[in-house]
C-alpha cells in the first residue's frame, strides 16, 4: 500500500468509525518467555482489530499478559508467533508513546526535562518544546513543580508527569499501562476527566490497561477482557455511552451499573482461575 492509500484509508476510517482498515491489527499473537524454569506462555492466540481513534481498554487478572501485549505494541518486546500491523499515517509524528506501569521518570532530570524527553530526543525546535511541555504541565497541574526532581514529588505527581511526557510527544497511539493506579481516588477522578478532555481534542488511538472496571467503562469505547494465563481474548465489549462524557454524571446512570456488572461477571471467573494458578505455583 502506498503512503497515499494508507492516509486515504485512515481518513475514511476516521470518518466511518471503524468501517475501514483498523489502526492496529493483531493476528494470532503469541508470546512465550524462555525462563530458567522453562517456557512460559504469556499470550496465546490473541487476535484484535483496533480502529483509528478508539479508546481501547484492557482488563484482566494480574499476570495475564496485559503489559506484555502493550510492550509488544511499543516495540519493547517481540512476538513469538503471529503478527502485529500498525497503520502509519505517514506523518512525522511518532507511532506510539508509552506511559509505563510504575515509576519510570528519570530521577536525574527535572519534571520539565522529563516531560520534554520525547520532543528533545526527536530534536524538535526549542520554541515548540517550550510551548507543548508548558501546555501539558499546566493541564496536569504541575507547572509550579517544573524544576523539581522526581524524588521531591509524590507518587501520584510522578505518574502525572509520565502521562504528560507521553502526551507531549504527540504520538499516533498512546499506550497507557495502569497510569492512574498510583493515584488517590480524588486525583484519579480529576485526571480521568482531564484525560477525556485532552483525548476529545486529539482523538488519538489509546490502549489503556486498568484493574478498575469502573475506569474501563468510564473512559473506554471498547473493553477487552483477557483470560488468565495464558492471556487470551475472553471477550470484547462495546461501551455505548456518547462523548464527550462527564465522569460523575455517567456513573449515576443505571446503564452504567449494568455494564460494570456485566464486565465483572466476565472477569470474576478469570480472577479466580488466576488465583488458583498462583496457589498451584506456590505448592509445586
Amino acid at each position: 500500500m502506498s503512503d497515499y492509500s494508507i492516509q486515504h484509508n485512515l481518513a475514511q476510517a476516521a470518518a466511518a468509525g471503524e468501517a475501514a482498515a483498523p489502526k492496529i491489527r493483531i493476528h494470532n499473537l503469541a508470546k512465550i518467555f524462555e525462563t530458567r524454569r522453562g517456557r512460559f506462555a504469556a499470550l496465546d492466540d490473541v487476535s484484535l482489530d483496533i480502529p483509528v481513534g478508539c479508546f481501547f481498554m484492557i482488563v484482566g487478572p494480574s499476570g495475564c499478559g496485559k503489559t506484555t501485549l502493550l510492550r509488544i505494541l511499543g516495540g519493547l518486546e517481540f512476538e513469538t508467533h503471529g503478527s502485529v500491523e500498525v497503520a502509519h499515517s505517514g506523518s512525522a509524528r511518532p507511532l506510539n508513546s508509552m506511559v509505563f506501569q510504575g515509576d519510570s521518570l528519570f530521577p536525574w532530570m527535572t519534571v520539565w526535562q522529563n516531560a520534554a524527553y520525547g520532543l528533545t530526543m526527536r530534536g524538535r525546535p526549542r520554541a515548540e518544546i517550550e510551548e507543548v511541555v508548558g501546555h501539558y504541565l499546566s493541564r496536569i497541574g504541575l507547572t509550579r513543580f517544573k524544576d523539581a526532581y522526581p524524588h521531591q514529588l509524590s507518587g501520584g505527581m510522578r505518574q502525572r508527569v509520565s502521562i504528560a511526557r507521553a502526551f507531549a510527544n504527540d504520538p499516533e497511539i498512546l499506550l497507557m499501562d495502569e497510569p492512574f493506579s498510583a493515584l488517590d481516588e480524588q486525583n484519579k477522578l480529576l485526571l480521568q476527566g482531564e484525560l477525556l478532555r485532552i483525548w476529545d481534542e486529539t482523538r488519538k488511538t489509546v490502549l489503556f490497561i486498568t484493574h478498575s472496571v469502573d475506569e474501563a467503562v468510564t473512559l473506554g469505547d471498547r473493553i477487552l477482557v483477557m483470560s488468565a494465563h495464558p492471556g487470551k481474548v475472553k471477550t470484547v465489549i462495546d461501551v455505548p455511552f456518547e462523548r464527550p462524557r462527564q465522569v460523575l454524571e455517567l456513573r449515576a446512570r443505571p446503564e452504567y451499573g449494568a455494564l460494570v456488572y456485566n464486565i465483572w461477571d466476565e472477569l470474576r471467573d478469570e480472577v479466580r482461575r488466576a488465583r488458583a494458578q498462583d496457589e498451584e505455583g506456590v505448592r509445586s
Binding site: R71, G74, G75, L76, P94, N96, S97, M98, F100, G102, D103, S104, F106, P107, W108, M109, Y117, G118, M121, R122, Y149, P150, H151, Q152, R165, N169
Partner: protein, 269 residues
Amino acid sequence: MSVAKKARAAQSRTKMRVAKNRDLVIGIASPLALLLVWELCARLGAIDTRFFPAPSQVGARLAALVASGALWSDTAASLTRLFWGTLLGGIPALALGIVMGLSRPIRAVFDPLVAATYPIPKSAILPLILLIFGLGEASKIVMVATGVFYPVLINAMAGVMEINKIYLDVGHNFKASRWQVFTTIALPGAMPLIMTGVKLGVGMGLILITIAEMVGAESGLGHMIWNAWEILSVETMYVGLIVVALLGFLFSLALTELERWLVPWKAAR
C-alpha cells in the same frame, strides 16, 4: 504542636548543636594537643629528633621552602602530572566503562582483560613504564593514568549495569539514538558510582605520583621527599608529607563538592 512538645524539640535541637560544637572543639584540640606533646618531647630529648623533629622545626622549614619558591614549584609539578594523568586515565575509562555496562558482547571481550590486569599492583609496573616511556614527564603521567583508569572503569560499568532497565525501555520507546541513550541515561544514571570511582582514582593517582617521582624525577613532591632522605634533611621530608596529605584532603573536599553539583538529584536527599 503542644508547648511541652515544642520545648522538647527545641531542647533536643540545642543538645544536637552543643554536641556538634563539642565534636568540632575536640576535632581541633586533639591534634593540637598531640603536636604540643610532640614539641615538648622533642625539646626535652625524650624522642630522637633525627627521626621526629620538633613541629616548630618543621614549621620553620615549611616557611623557608615557601619563601624560596621551591615548595610551590614541586607542588605545581606534581599537580600538573596528576591533572594530565587523571584525564589520560579517566576519560577512556569512563567511555569504556559505560560501553561495557551497556553492551554484553563488549563486556565479554574486555572483562577478562580487566580482571587479569586489575590486581597487578600499579607500583610494580613502574619499572616497565620507565622502560617504555623513559624518565621524562610521560612516564609519570602514565603512572597516574593507570591508577585512575581501573577504579573509574569498574565503577562506571557497575553504575550503568545498576541502572533500572525501565529507563532504557523509556529511551527505546521515545526513540533515543545510541548516543542519546549514552548521554541522557547511561552517563547520568551511572554518575553517582562514577564519582565514587573518580574519588578512589584520584587518591590512587596521588599515591602513584609520589612513588613515581621518587625514581628518576627532578621535581615534584615525591622527588622532594626522596631527596630529603638522600641529604638527611628530615624536616623537608615532613614538609613534603604534610603537603601530600593536605592535597589528598583538598581533593576529597573538591570532589565531594563536584559530586553535589553533578548529582543534584541524590545530594538533595
